[in-house]
């Protein structure tokens, strides 16, 4: 079937040499803009002895200093803004779970560029002006809601701005409006499918055919689960508010990595320990420079996401390079007893015990008075797993516990709990509760 032509996607297919010309021009321009307008960056560059005119090729980006999340906190709220406040038309901020939030500011041009990337992301998933897209990302300070909203409208599709929450009504609207696609977090969509089943609504029978899931890492198992429960095609969308919001990268119909909108976000992969740039194909930390953003550009921003740039061209014909899906954001990682643990590892342990569904779970970290750390993992039991035979329930709990120990190499306290015992969040699911700083 021929794909509808989306003029918005033309930039995805630029010949590489043209793309690189644009990248270099934009990079030079943005570095000069930063140097002239942000004392923070001027000082950093002076310390490294690098001037804007030293950027002669794309490779010269390696001369520039990195930006860390900490730098955004230290300059809270507007310390990294590169334009006067009267040019800033929008502010977003992260929900600061620890300390100060991260604030980002956009000029009108920045909002337009972000919108363009988001529209191309949706187009890569086959969305056209004929579609009705439900946007269940939270509207507000979080970039997900408004970011996706603008992109849907820019593409000419119809947006249903439900935002997060009130799941029963979301399901009703999805059914009554004949919604074709949805934007939300993968965990919220799983929640929505469960709720629909409870309400007797068969998501598979609804017109919805596509979902754009992001704002949190999700596993291949979650993807399978979503596709089986709903029958929709799922697209992994990557973004972070430090760059703009959703729409930094997107899967195409081949689902083999995420194309990065490179003419806007210049990607590098570095060795997280040495800061050295790694060649395409090697795994390391993803670093971005926003080369088409003026309100608050980011130079070599360290995302703490681990991935690699896929060197081979994609069969879809896009010239934009791809990164591997990010299964874990290092922000979600925690260290216990000297071991780095990603929640995705714990999820894979659950699925090796019971592959039918990923359970709701919660990880709580505590510290004993003697300084030893404990990890409690609570897992909700599904009715299909429940047996009246106490031995079987003990066995189930033990199986979870063994699998976790096998995969992590450390022991956790595992407790199965009744369905609904773990509070649901309708935005980004919070899985890890680290109480070690407060309990001492």
């Amino acid at each position: 079937m021929a794909k509808p032509y989306n003029p918005v996607s033309a930039a995805d297919y630029l010949p590489r040499h043209l793309l690189q010309e644009i990248q270099l021009k934009r990079l030079q321009n943005i570095i000069k803009h930063e140097y002239d307008n942000v004392p923070f960056y001027r000082q950093r560059m002076d310390e490294k002895g690098v001037k804007p005119e030293d950027i002669k090729t794309l490779k010269d980006i390696q001369l520039l200093p990195f930006t860390m999340k900490k730098d955004l906190r230290d300059t809270y709220p507007f310390g990294l803004f590169a334009v006067p406040m009267n040019k800033i038309v929008r502010l977003h901020a992260s929900s600061g779970t620890t300390g100060k939030p991260i604030v980002v500011g956009y000029t009108q041009e920045d909002v337009d560029s972000w919108t363009n990337c988001m529209a191309r992301a949706l187009a890569a998933g086959g969305v056209t002006s004929n579609d009705i897209i439900q946007n269940s990302y939270g509207y507000g300070l979080f970039t997900g809601g408004l970011g996706a909203h603008n992109g849907i409208e820019a593409l000419g599709a119809t947006v249903v701005p439900t935002s997060g929450g009130n799941t029963e009504r979301q399901i009703m609207l999805m059914r009554d409006f004949g919604v074709n696609g949805i934007c939300c977090t993968p965990s919220y969509f799983i929640h929505l499918c469960e709720k629909a089943a409870e309400m007797g609504v068969n998501v598979k029978a609804l017109p919805i055919r596509v979902g754009f899931f992001g704002a949190e890492p999700w596993t291949q198992e979650m993807r399978q689960r979503i596709e089986e429960a709903s029958g929709i095609e799922t697209f992994d969308i990557y973004g972070l508010s430090e760059m703009s919001g959703p729409g930094v990268g997107i899967e195409c119909e081949h689902h083999c990595g995420l194309h990065i909108f490179e003419e806007t976000f210049y990607p590098e992969i570095i060795d997280p320990d040495t800061g050295e740039v790694l060649p395409d194909g090697e795994r390391g930390e993803l670093v971005f420079t926003t080369i088409n953003k003026f309100g608050m550009p980011m130079i070599r921003y360290r995302t703490r996401d681990l991935t690699r740039i896929i060197p081979e061209p994609c069969p879809c014909g896009r010239t934009l390079r791809r990164i591997d899906r990010i299964s874990a954001r290092s922000d979600d990682m925690f260290i216990i007893r000297g071991v780095n643990v990603f929640p995705s590892q714990i999820e894979s342990a659950f699925l090796s015990v019971d592959a039918t569904a990923l359970p709701h779970y919660r990880i709580t970290l505590t510290r004993r008075p003697d300084g030893l750390d404990d990890m409690l993992i609570e897992i909700e039991v599904r009715e299909e797993q429940f047996s009246d035979d106490m031995r079987k329930m003990n066995e189930l709990q033990k199986k979870f516990s063994h699998e976790i120990e096998r995969i992590l190499g450390i022991r956790a306290m595992v407790k199965i709990v009744q369905p609904g015992a773990i509070p649901r969040s309708e935005g980004k699911a919070k899985r890890v509760f680290d109480l070690r700083n407060t309990t001492k």
Partner: protein
């Protein structure tokens, strides 16, 4: 010959029994017997009621994991040593008992509720032995 018993998965924490019990009470489900088995982490609440379908629906609506199980009710005669006689019979037959507990039917008959690993086999053997198996009709009479 079996009695239907409803099992509910509950957390082992104070007040965990309140939610399922009050949900059943609000729906007007009358419980003939209630029995909790627990470990340090979780519990299984087992109830016997005449109105299984309603109870099942109410509990599921309230998000509980629920199972219906076949159990056997054996009459305990009102004579000294009646219980040990039953236990002895069960033991001599080599039947695998998962659990048991005492209950009283609406008929006022005291019974022992047994859940056997192999319920059909147990039923067949106990029928032949000198045991009075109380049917659902008799229990709720």
């Amino acid at each position: 010959m079996y009695l239907k018993q409803l099992s509910v998965f509950v957390d082992n924490k104070p007040g965990a029994l309140y939610a399922p019990c009050s949900a059943l009470a609000e729906a007007g489900v009358n419980l003939s017997s209630i029995f909790l088995a627990d470990t340090k982490d979780f519990g299984i609440l087992r109830v016997i009621t005449k109105d299984n379908e309603k109870a099942l629906n109410v509990l599921r609506e309230n998000n509980f994991a629920v199972k219906l199980t076949d159990v056997l009710a054996i009459e305990i005669e009102d004579v000294p040593g009646a219980l040990s006689k039953i236990l002895k019979t069960v033991e001599s037959m080599g039947l695998d008992v998962l659990y048991m507990y005492a209950a009283v039917g609406t008929s006022g008959k005291p019974v022992m509720i047994f859940r056997f690993d192999d319920a059909d086999n147990a039923l067949e053997k106990l029928r032949d032995a000198d045991c009075t198996i109380v049917s659902s009709e008799q229990f709720f009479a």
